[in-house]
């Protein structure tokens, strides 16, 4: 059943360092360590496996599985990452066994009576989250897969007990798990019975970036760069070299930044995410962007000192100085075994480190730049550095019923049979129903549709003309049920009301309206004078012995175009 475990070639590389076995069907790695025992049970399921509508379901399972442990002195925790979920604890052998047994017992039979409480806890947790790079996944991947970490856990609103149970039964299985223990033997008394299932590979990555390297606008005070690179010893060393280079260029030499650092973290079996970050004083933001671009260019050009490589290599090699090397490496080996990535023995890793050249690092720098996504503060451009702005608008619009914004008459909401679209002066924002990642629904009729590409349209019936319950029903009927997230009722004061209408007059310069006013006055005056003249002539002819009625008609006919132009000018001026 556990095919990968019995494909033990890669585990053989760890002989003498790490032992392996199977505990109740769960592949298990163990290696001795002085003192207390640490154990980790890791599952190949995480946020990237969810959808926007079910986002948070893995996190919910993790919380429910740990609930029964309550307030114990044991040092334990759970963590839900993009591609995996980890339960871990440190303590005496008996404590760790009790922990693992409790987690697995809970996974077999989740305390779903706690569901609503845990959902609320997760919603509260979410409010405190969000780092400087929290928006980059959304821009890179859209509202799906690895992009979901940018989003709130929408599933914490209306996931049902059945959904959560089914998720646990299919993802938290013995075939989708690896256990590791820092012990010279598998402890007695373990009961980690889990349902059978299958090993799920990490999800394939989606892309919301048509062109890379790309850039997006972000918050003031932060510059962030990320790139997806092939996992390798060179790439992980490069991250350290990049961090040091940024620190040197932006902090030590320039004094533009306080923090400047880089990080390498695995995404799946094949790829890792390289992230570089620098903060900035308000007046130095332009220099931080420029310095960031130049540091990356320097590494890409291969201007990397041998001493930079040597320093990072020496630091990396230090991990092998630890007395319980096998135990220290267990979490990483377990994760790679779970993801299906090769297991590198310390000797192999050392050999790869020693063979690294600055040319290898230059290659990683080039690969990273080619795939790069840079977040610049405020509304700065970065196209000067060869980066392309990530899409700000959808590529297409839709037809359907048109509903003008009650706040800004340049904006029109379109509700069609294939999707919804917001037409704005900058371009359209469109969510086709068949590519809708999630639609939140309020009892008052408000709907927010988020497309798989990350574009979102909010339909507030109070803010657009003619959005009747029938139109909302048409949207509800077209959006796939799996994408619908029912949200609670809002307090009346939370339902938005149109702000003061932004009429066209506010936008166009006074000068152009001046022109229309002048034209209206000129033509209007001529029309009035000619009308008066016509009336006088008519009166005179009427009093004459032989009225020349054809002349009177002729005069009045000339008045008609004048009146028409006056009317048109009046209308045109009003629209300015």
């Amino acid at each position: 059943m556990t095919t990968r475990l019995h494909d033990t070639d890669s585990l053989d590389a760890l002989k003498g360092l790490v032992s392996h076995t199977t505990v109740q069907g769960v592949p298990t790695l163990y290696a001795p360590q002085q003192g207390e025992i640490t154990a980790g049970l890791v599952f190949r399921v995480g946020r990237a496996d969810e959808t926007l509508a079910t986002a948070g379901i893995t996190h919910l399972v993790e919380h429910l599985a740990l609930h029964r442990l309550g307030l114990s002195d044991l040092h334990y925790n759970g963590a839900t990452a993009n591609a995996y979920t980890l339960f871990h604890a440190t303590g005496s052998e008996a404590e760790v066994v009790a922990y693992l047994n409790a987690v697995c017992a809970a996974l077999r039979d989740l305390p779903l009576d706690r569901l609503e409480t845990e959902k609320e806890i997760l919603r509260t947790e979410a409010a405190g989250r969000g780092g400087a790079d929290s928006q980059l996944p959304l821009w890179r991947y859209g509202a799906q897969g690895y992009g979901l970490s940018s989003y709130n856990e929408l599933g914490t609103w209306d996931l049902t007990a059945d959904q959560v149970r089914a998720w646990a039964e299919t993802r938290f299985t013995r075939d989708n798990a690896v256990l590791w223990i820092t012990s010279d033997a598998v402890p007695e008394g373990l009961d980690i019975t889990l349902p059978a299932g299958t090993r799920l590979p990490a999800p394939a990555a989606s892309s919301a970036l048509p062109v890379t390297p790309a850039y997006v606008h972000g918050d003031d005070g932060h510059v962030v760069f990320n790139a997806v690179v092939r996992r390798s010893t060179a790439a992980s060393v490069f991250a350290d070299v990049l961090g040091r280079a940024l620190f040197q260029d932006l902090r030590q030499e320039g004094g533009y930044s306080y923090s400047a650092e880089a990080d390498y973290s695995l995404r799946d079996a094949e790829f890792a995410t390289l992230t570089a970050y620098a903060d900035s004083l308000p007046k130095k933001q332009d220099a931080v962007v420029g310095g960031f671009v130049d540091t990356l260019a320097r590494l890409r050009a291969g201007r990397i000192e041998q001493s930079e490589l040597d320093a990072v290599r020496a630091k990396t090699l230090k991990i092998y100085d630890t007395p319980d090397l096998g135990a220290a490496a267990l979490p990483s080996y377990a994760l790679n075994l779970l993801l299906g990535h090769r297991l590198l023995s310390p000797d192999e890793h050392r050999a790869e480190l020693m063979a690294l050249t600055t040319a290898d690092l230059r290659e990683v720098a080039r690969e990273a730049w080619a795939d790069g996504l840079l977040q610049v503060p405020g509304h700065r451009g970065a196209d000067w550095a060869g980066l392309t702005l990530a899409p700000q608008y959808s590529t297409s619009t839709l037809t359907g019923t048109r509903h003008q914004s009650l706040e800004d008459d340049r904006i029109t909401l379109v509700i069609g049979s294939e999707g919804v679209s917001l037409q704005t002066p900058g371009g359209p924002v469109t969510v086709p129903y068949d590519a809708c990642a999630a639609m939140t629904a309020r009892p008052d009729g408000a709907r927010t549709l988020t497309g798989l590409d990350g574009f979102a349209v909010t339909v507030e019936p109070t803010l657009y003309r003619g959005v009747t319950p029938e139109r909302i029903a048409a949207i509800d009927a077209a959006v796939p049920q799996a994408a619908v997230v029912r949200m609670p009722e809002r307090a009346p004061e939370q339902i938005p009301q149109p702000r003061e209408r932004r009429a066209s007059t506010a936008r166009t310069g006074g000068r152009s309206r001046w022109g229309w006013t002048l034209a209206l006055w000129v033509v209007g005056t001529i029309a009035a004078v000619w009308g008066l003249l016509s009336a006088v002539v008519t009166a005179e002819e009427a009093g004459a012995a032989n009225p020349e009625w054809d002349a009177v008609v002729g005069i009045w006919v000339l008045e008609l175009p004048l009146l028409f132009v006056t009317w048109k000018l009046y209308g045109a001026r009003k629209r300015r």
Partner: protein, 337 residues
């Protein structure tokens, strides 16, 4: 060849990329020459090589130059040569690792872009002109990012990057960072100082405090006899340009400005250690013009004497008729004898 800054129809105030390497064909028997190929005849082989599209000769010419300052001057001058980009694009393709052809090509792209933008104030430039201008500058900038990454001590590339930073509105702190990267290797590179001074003026997002402060600091920090003192004169000329008629004249006549100019001239172009160099004509021109505008003709005299019949396009192009102004002011200066 025509100047990119022919000042017909008023004061062109948003100075383009040019330093004092303008190539106006204003030679004549009575007045001064503004043509660098006439005022500095040793530049003629460069022009001949460029006109023939003969890259090896261009390269040999640059190799023969004995200072970074001269290289920057010659880069700026060659970049003003019409159609020179054809030769340069080929040279870049043939020697992709060589910083010189890439820097020359980038500077040429900057001039092409600035030619489209014109030197008019931003409000008189159309959106389409701006788009094309920015396109050319981005092409230049991307070449220069690589050159500076590979050769961080290559002053001519950083100097052009100060121009792209300005044209692309990359901000005060970014321009300053570029200047600081350059000064780490070349602490007193006058061509770059002239570019940064432009950036520090209010018209490019700076302030008068920043512009005058930088000019004074650079002048004070430079070795005696260098050109840097002329930055003080250029800063005052920029300030004068921003002021209205009456106010402008009063500003230049004021004693603080005069004393500032006198001190700057003493430590730079009038110092016994001063060696003319190719920027000397521009530096003396700055002092001659600044003193003349304030009516300090006695102070202007040594500068006119040093210039003889030679002048530089910049900063004389800040006047509607540079040649007649030069002649008029020189006459007044000579009358003080």
């Amino acid at each position: 060849m025509s100047s990119t800054r022919s000042g017909s129809g008023g004061r062109p105030t948003e100075t383009g990329p040019g330093s004092d390497t303008g190539t106006g064909s204003r030679s004549g028997s009575s007045g001064p020459s503004f043509d660098p190929y006439e005022t500095l005849p040793e530049l003629v082989p460069l022009r001949s090589a460029a006109r023939q599209g003969h890259w090896p000769a261009v390269q040999a010419y640059f190799t023969s130059l004995d200072s970074t300052e001269k290289v920057s001057y010659a880069v700026g001058l060659l970049a003003e040569t019409a159609d020179v980009e054809r030769m340069l694009e080929k040279a870049v393709a043939d020697r992709p690792a060589d910083p010189l052809p890439r820097t020359l090509l980038a500077d040429r792209y900057v001039r092409i872009g600035w030619g489209i933008r014109s030197d008019l104030r931003a409000k008189h430039v159309s959106q389409e002109q701006f788009d094309q201008f920015h396109d050319w500058l981005r092409r230049a900038e991307q070449i220069l990012i690589d050159v500076c990454a590979e050769q961080p001590a290559y002053a001519p590339a950083w100097t052009v990057r100060l121009i792209t930073a300005r044209g692309l509105s990359l901000g005060q702190s970014e321009a300053r960072r570029r200047y600081d990267r350059l000064t780490a290797h070349h602490p007193h590179h006058y061509p770059a100082q002239m570019q940064l001074l432009q950036q520090l003026c209010p018209k490019w997002g700076g302030s008068w405090d920043a512009a005058h402060g930088f000019a004074r600091e650079a002048a004070a920090a430079a070795p005696d006899g260098s050109h840097a003192g002329a930055l003080v004169a250029l800063a005052h000329l920029e300030h004068w340009l921003e002021l209205d008629g009456g106010e402008a004249g009063a500003y230049m006549r004021g004693l603080p400005v005069r004393d500032d100019l006198r001190f700057a001239a003493q430590v730079s172009v009038l110092h016994s250690d001063h060696r003319a160099g190719w920027y000397g004509i521009g530096a003396h021109s700055a002092f001659a013009l600044a003193f003349s505008l304030g009516g300090h003709f006695e102070d202007a005299l040594p500068h006119f004497t040093a210039l003889g019949d030679r002048a530089s396009d910049f900063p004389w192009s800040y006047l509607p008729n540079p040649k007649s102004a030069f002649v008029k002011y020189r006459k007044s200066a000579l009358a003080t004898l």
